[in-house]
Symmetry: C2
Subunit: 210 residues, 2 copies
């Protein structure tokens, strides 16, 4: 890896500098760093070293450490493609599709570890909490709400996130049994109707809540 | 407070040493310490100093720091009294009673801050996660399961905990709007049917999951 550290950026002037391979190397290095070290101990310098590039290149391609994390999550979760797909299928199976998507994301390494690192940091670090809040509000919940198009869509999106964040905490982080070892089919049977109701059913809300 | 630090234990031989006031002082000091400092930075020595007693007395009354935390949570949540009450009322309103109980617990200071401290630590510290897992499994989920008396009662109890832990994370820790500012009535309308279903409805589980 040290032999690659002195590799200069391949382009210096274009709007999209560097080859896509270099960008992908940086994103992969970032995912491994966040997964192994957590949010707090990951640095742009460490990501650059792991990718075999100069830290300035990471800054130029992505910006700050937070920007690299958002890029890594966006590439892993592809919410811009997946959420419109999820929302547009057979209406009766919307809850099931959302839970399947959630489980597919958490089943993949190192995406699972990156999400665990982010959730852990968000629980203890206000800056990471704000990053998680922004990413999910804009990239995930905002897209769900936009597809729903209802007046209370933002609230519905946060209700879904409350169930899925809780599932992640209990299953992957605190690991309370029997939920921690339950099969995907059990999780679908339990959670798909909940998510479906939050997204589509009348909630009988007593008032505007936001 | 320093004038009280040399106060000796009032009894040395009984099975229930010390006045109940001293025990209550220690529990109150523990709650304030966990709330202000979090789990990692709270110590038996710090709790003792805040309560104006000798650290040995804290050890003698409760045991370790973890034991003091469990005692503080047990006194704050009284799961031994409240859970049988919750489970025994009007069956149709079970979900609503559970969500009301949850909200009442999180609305009280310093109980809310102690729970936030424990949840934060559980996200990052395996020992705290294990403490949270044990406390909730034995004191809360185990009691709910025992009252339900069904074959899949433990799974149902963890489904409930996944929704309530997620609500706590999104509302009190990561604070994603509009859920973070939603009224208790909105939360009841959204979550009571979910909790009710997890506790009572057929889950159509495809298999035994534990």
């Amino acid at each position: 890896m040290t032999s690659r550290r002195s590799t200069p950026p391949r382009e210096r002037t274009g709007r999209r500098p560097g080859s896509s391979t270099t960008r992908a190397d940086i994103v992969n290095a970032a995912r491994v760093s966040f997964a192994e070290l957590g949010y707090d101990r990951t640095s742009v310098r460490g990501i650059a070293a792991k990718a075999g590039v100069d830290p300035a290149l990471v800054h130029r391609f992505f910006g700050s450490k937070d920007d690299v994390l958002v890029a890594a999550l966006t590439i892993a979760l592809t919410p811009d493609e997946r959420i419109p797909q999820l929302m547009k299928g057979e209406p009766a199976e919307l809850g099931e599709r959302v839970v399947r998507y959630f489980l597919s994301v958490w089943d993949r390494s190192p995406t699972r570890e990156v999400l665990i690192a982010l959730l852990r940091s968000a629980a203890t670090n206000e800056h990471a909490a704000s990053l998680l809040r922004e990413f999910f509000s804009h990239e995930v919940l905002g897209r769900i709400a936009a597809e729903l198009g209802q007046e209370d869509a933002q609230l519905r999106a946060t209700l879904v996130s409350s169930q899925l964040v809780g599932l992640a905490m209990v299953r992957y982080i605190v690991r309370i049994e029997p939920l921690a070892s339950a099969s995907p089919e059990t999780l679908l049977a339990a959670f798909a109707p909940t998510v479906h109701r939050y997204l589509t059913a009348p909630l009988d809300l007593p008032e505007a809540s936001c």
